[in-house]
């Protein structure tokens, strides 16, 4: 598989004001991520709140310029593609179907917006394409002239998917697309996303905190912690043999509906670190049940091998060079 999108040492920091006289601090939301997204895969980006996965998603969509590093699409820097050039190839689906649809537009007008922006077809042709797209995501034509408030959460998410796909993009960045939905609706949306991927030959970046969903839909998984990718592997390999202690803890926390197993002990400390004041060395070391003496002082190098990548002293190439 060839790399469609590549992120090179991507960093994004924000200035955070801490009150009037305290001055500003820098928050490194994304801290030196290098990643490739391959044609046709479903790459899941997994992590807890504050790990930087949504910031990464916004950068991949071209909505947020990186502070350092670059993103290339088939070798071309996305900054040179421009907003419209990016829009034809990469599209988003957001988490909250209540805030992702303009309440003052009809469903048809929401889905047709990208077509209008790019000046595709006449009004009648756009209407036809819109209706076809709505049909593809399982919404009958009678929904076309309704307003978002008349739809349920699942139906709204279908509209958001239709809007993302109407331009026939290659990559769809799904930011927690089912977290706001009920389980019975979640399964419908997941089925739909998988059908559409097969039918339209799409590549997904699937951002989620729900590992059960990730295991189901993803082909490769990147685990993020405090702005860095700590482990990257094929889904089956990651779930079978996680290498980073944080991945192990995440997997242990998945509560499958299997009675009698009780609630797992993740072995993590209770305190989630302050992202404004990240721990020295490996950012995970204060919570890590397997930490070594050097973890507190030395940032682990990323080890890339045939299974993927891992940033942990337990899997290092020995002491870092220098």
């Amino acid at each position: 598989m060839t790399a469609l999108i590549e992120a090179h040492d991507l960093t994004r920091s924000f200035e955070v004001s801490r009150g009037m006289f305290k001055g500003k601090r820098t928050l490194h939301a994304v801290n030196g991520i290098s990643l490739d997204i391959r044609q046709g895969e479903v790459l899941a980006i997994v992590g807890e709140s504050g790990c930087g996965k949504s910031t990464l998603a916004r950068m991949l969509l071209g909505l947020l310029p990186p502070s350092a590093g670059a993103i290339t699409l088939e070798g071309q820097d996305i900054r040179s593609l421009g907003r419209k050039g990016m829009a034809r190839r990469v599209q988003p689906v957001f988490q909250d179907p209540y805030s992702s649809l303009n309440p003052r537009r009809t469903i048809a007008s929401i889905v047709a917006l990208p077509l209008e922006v790019h000046g595709i077809g006449t009004a009648a042709e756009r209407r036809k394409m819109t209706i076809e797209m709505l049909d593809k995501v399982g919404l009958p034509q009678r929904f076309a002239d309704r307003y978002p408030r008349e739809l349920s959460g699942g139906q709204r998410q279908r509209v958001a998917i239709a809007r993302a796909l109407v331009m026939k993009p290659e990559v769809v960045v799904c930011d927690e697309p089912t977290s706001a939905l009920d389980v019975s609706v979640q399964s419908q949306i997941l089925n739909l996303l998988m059908d559409l991927r097969r039918e339209l030959n799409l590549t997904y970046v699937f951002i989620s905190h729900n590992l059960a969903v990730v295991e189901h839909i993803a082909t490769r998984v990147a685990v993020m912690y405090l702005g860095r990718v700590v482990e990257l592997a094929e889904t089956a390999a990651l779930f079978k043999a996680p290498r980073h202690p944080y991945t192990k803890a995440l997997l242990a926390s998945v509560l499958t509906p299997e009675p009698g197993l009780g609630i797992p002990d993740t072995g993590l400390g209770i305190a989630f670190p302050d992202p404004l004041n990240p721990p020295s060395g490996c950012p995970f070391h204060p919570r890590c049940p397997e930490r070594l003496p050097q973890c507190a002082s030395v940032v682990p190098q990323i080890l890339r091998d045939e299974t993927g990548a891992v940033a942990c002293h337990l899997h290092g190439q020995g002491p870092a060079p220098h």
């Binding site: 990469v90 992702s100 303009n102």
Partner: protein, 298 residues
């Protein structure tokens, strides 16, 4: 599978229109306010038909005729005449035109300035926001009435000078409200989705942001219109606003102040008209705010 009698009515929300109507009619204050405003607008539009006399026609032999309910009053001049013998009812009716013209023109000018600044500040943030906030603070540090007095005193008073001066002074509330409303909408995902669709900034601001902050805009506009009408009356009363012989309610009060103790109606009638219009606009504006407030998720 399911046959017809098995189906249950699906959970559905009432249509937007029926919900809106229910909410509007539930607001008695709004209905009363908008009713009075509509009546005054109608009177102003139909002034040439409704006014019994020419509002500028002087008749020095019939000066200070009292309204019909006084013993000396007559139905020829239902609300009497003023110190120059002009029909008072006709002048009050034509006065509504002046007040509404002032209110609407000032709101259009200040609304355009304030909304543009507020949208820019809220949408772009950062340095633009800092600049707009600075402009608003500067503007707020200037007392409207004093600046207006100074300008009018320097370049002379007329209807259009008053409108321009007030229009260029009263944009601050528009800017403040539009800024915070825009900031809210800016952070919503549908704006990000439009950006990701490749839409230009102009298209996003006009197509996605503005329609969603328009309700706030309407509320501010009504309240600002009332305030502009009052300010015009105050300026005219001080002799620095609309100039005679135009029938402005503020000017009429000013002209009548010398006769206050002999012909009380000369002050009471335009005063009542002014108070009624301001009261009705405020009632409608407050009601509108309450109708708009619960908008959103149910």
């Amino acid at each position: 599978m399911t046959s017809e009698p098995l189906s249950l009515p699906a959970a559905a929300e009432p249509t937007a229109y029926s919900r809106l109507m229910r909410r509007v009619l539930g607001q008695k204050a709004f209905v009363i306010g908008i009713g009075i405003v509509a009546a005054i607008v109608l009177i102003a539009l139909l002034a040439p038909v409704l006014a019994p006399h020419d509002p500028y026609l002087q008749n020095l032999s019939a000066r200070n005729v009292p309204p019909f309910w006084y013993a000396k009053g007559s139905w020829v001049h239902p609300l009497g005449t003023d110190q120059l013998g002009r029909d008072y009812l006709s002048r009050v009716i034509y006065g509504a035109r002046i007040s509404l013209l002032i209110g609407i023109s000032v709101v259009i000018i200040s609304g355009l300035i304030g909304t543009t600044l507020g949208l820019a500040a809220g949408y772009f943030g950062g340095k633009v926001d800092m600049l707009v906030t600075f402009l608003v603070t500067t503007r707020l540090s200037m007392p409207v009435i004093l600046v207006a007095l100074a300008v009018v005193a320097m370049i002379g008073g007329s209807l259009w000078i008053v409108i321009l001066v007030l229009g260029f002074l009263k944009w601050d509330r528009f800017a403040v409200v539009m800024r915070s409303a825009t900031q809210q909408v800016r952070s919503l995902d549908y704006v990000a989705a439009a950006e990701a669709a490749g839409a230009s900034t102009t298209r996003i601001v006009l197509g996605e942001v503005l329609p969603n902050i328009a309700p706030h805009l309407i509320v501010v506009a009504t309240l600002e219109a009332a305030s502009a009408i009052l300010l015009e009356a105050a300026l005219s009363f001080l002799g620095l606003g609309v100039q005679p012989p135009l029938p402005s309610w503020g000017l009429m009060i000013s002209e009548a102040k010398a006769y206050m103790f002999f012909s009380f109606w000369l002050i009471a009638i335009p005063g009542t008209a002014l108070a009624l219009l301001i009261f009705a606009i405020n009632l409608a504006g407050d009601g509108l705010r309450d109708i708009i407030a619960p908008e959103g998720r149910s």
